[in-house]
């Protein structure tokens, strides 16, 4: 069989199959629909990552771990154990998935992966910070507490305010000589005792504080305490305990 015959045989085979209906040219609408579905999938994935990352920030703020770097070396050492690793790992896996999906687009794959990955991470960080500064998570948490949040309600109940033995976040109800009484975001009253650390003159009733120290029942042996911005705390507190004031 010479080359010409071979050529004819391939095209003839394909065209014969097409005439018999064994193979069909996919319609243009199929590709448009596929692309639209793909873009939608990417958007849903991106929004999910932003949501999870902002939830991680919310969880860090609610647990008090967000404020740990202000304690210096001691805080940073405690921060490592207080990070929501499951949420971070989940976000990282989804970011890699998003990058792989986005690699289908020529404006993405033509540039080194480092750039697109950095771009995605930057978008996620900025958007999740913006989202975490809205009352969305506090409102959802409130609904979850009242049992009015199906599906993701468990996420808020379980991970919304992670229980920590070392980090305590709340507001001061009472100041004593070597102790303060504070109420945390779960509504628990804790007695914070200072054996080795001084309370400092600047802690007074109504202050929002974060404490590092081992908890035993409702007593915490404090190692360090800092006062935090009331706005941060009360934004959470308002959403967590009652409907927004205004």
């Amino acid at each position: 069989m010479d080359t010409q015959d071979k050529q004819n045989s391939i095209s003839e085979k394909i065209l014969a199959k097409a005439r018999e209906g064994q193979i069909k040219m996919k319609p243009r609408a199929y590709f448009i629909f596929k692309t639209a579905l793909f873009v939608l999938g990417i958007l849903v994935l991106l929004l999910s990552i932003i949501y999870i990352a902002s939830f991680a920030i919310f969880s860090l703020r609610a647990s008090g771990a967000w404020f740990l770097p202000r304690f210096g070396f001691l805080g940073i050492r405690n921060l490592f154990g207080a990070l929501p690793w499951l949420l971070i790992l989940l976000s990282a896996v989804l970011i890699v998935m998003l990058e792989l999906f986005a690699e289908k687009f020529s404006f993405i794959y033509k540039k080194p992966m480092m750039y697109s990955l950095a771009g995605i991470i930057l978008i996620v960080i900025i958007a999740s910070f913006i989202l975490s500064n809205t009352p969305l998570h506090t409102k959802l948490f409130d609904r979850a507490k009242e049992g009015r949040l199906p599906l993701i309600g468990a996420l808020y109940s379980k991970y919304g305010i992670p229980k920590s033995q070392n980090i305590h976040h709340g507001f001061v109800l009472e100041v004593q000589e070597n102790a303060v009484v504070m109420e945390n975001l779960r509504g628990e009253k804790l007695k914070i005792i200072f054996d080795n650390a001084s309370i400092g003159d600047d802690i007074s009733i109504g202050d929002a504080v974060v404490v590092i120290g081992q908890r035993n029942a409702s007593v915490v042996s404090a190692t360090a305490i800092i006062k935090i911005d009331k706005d941060d705390f009360f934004l959470l507190k308002r959403g967590l305990t009652k409907p927004p004031l205004r």
Binding site: I10, E12, M25, K26, S106, M113
Partner: protein, 196 residues
């Protein structure tokens, strides 16, 4: 104008419009190219035959995804690239597409802009060298090298065919040239006992 004188993109458009018989013109124009391309990438002759058949069948089925503003040859080579990967997977050959490659991740500086080779002499010389060395080059370097020197695509077109960053195409071609140089020097040493 006779259909045979039309550009590939125009014929593809006519096939999309329902004149499916014209598909045979595209097959006639590209079958030899596809066969030699697949032969360079694959080792099994039986695979080559099947892969070429699959390339054109896919091209027919997916014809409506072709955008006539793009180059038909790049689109067809993209299908060929995917079919060759499928053949590799079928044969459980590893190495063609590594799961993670720093070349793809990091940016690279290119000394040239990766335009098509305009110098015939350079292309002929390289074709001769490549034919001697191609089978001894790692799979991931082989394809961009063949597409640039043997098929005559630019770096940007190769990036579209392989879905790789343009700078990665450039760095792989640069490295494959260094590998070929090393192979030739070794060959020279074995033949004459010393490098020329």
């Amino acid at each position: 104008m006779n259909e045979f004188d039309k550009k590939d993109e125009e014929i593809a458009y006519l096939v999309q419009s329902g004149q499916i018989e014209l598909f045979s013109i595209l097959v006639n124009r590209y079958e030899v190219k596809m066969t030699s391309y697949a032969r360079r990438m694959l080792y099994n002759a039986e695979d080559v035959k099947d892969v070429v058949q699959d390339i054109f069948t896919k091209a027919f089925v997916y014809m409506n995804s072709f955008d006539k503003k793009r180059k038909f040859s790049s689109w067809l080579y993209r299908i060929a690239h995917n079919e060759i990967i499928n053949a590799y997977k079928k044969n459980k050959r590893k190495g063609f597409l590594p799961l993670f490659d720093l070349d793809v991740f990091l940016p690279h500086h290119l000394n040239n802009d990766g335009d098509k080779i305009s110098n015939d002499l350079e292309q002929k010389e390289m074709q001769e060298i490549i034919s001697k060395c191609l089978n001894r080059i790692q799979d991931k370097y082989k394809e961009p090298l063949a597409l640039y020197y043997l098929e005559g695509f630019s770096y940007k077109e190769i990036a579209d065919i392989m879905h790789l960053p343009v700078s990665t195409v450039g760095i792989r071609i640069k490295r494959s040239k260094e590998i070929m140089k090393h192979i030739l020097e070794k060959q020279e040493y074995n033949n004459h006992g010393h490098p020329r």
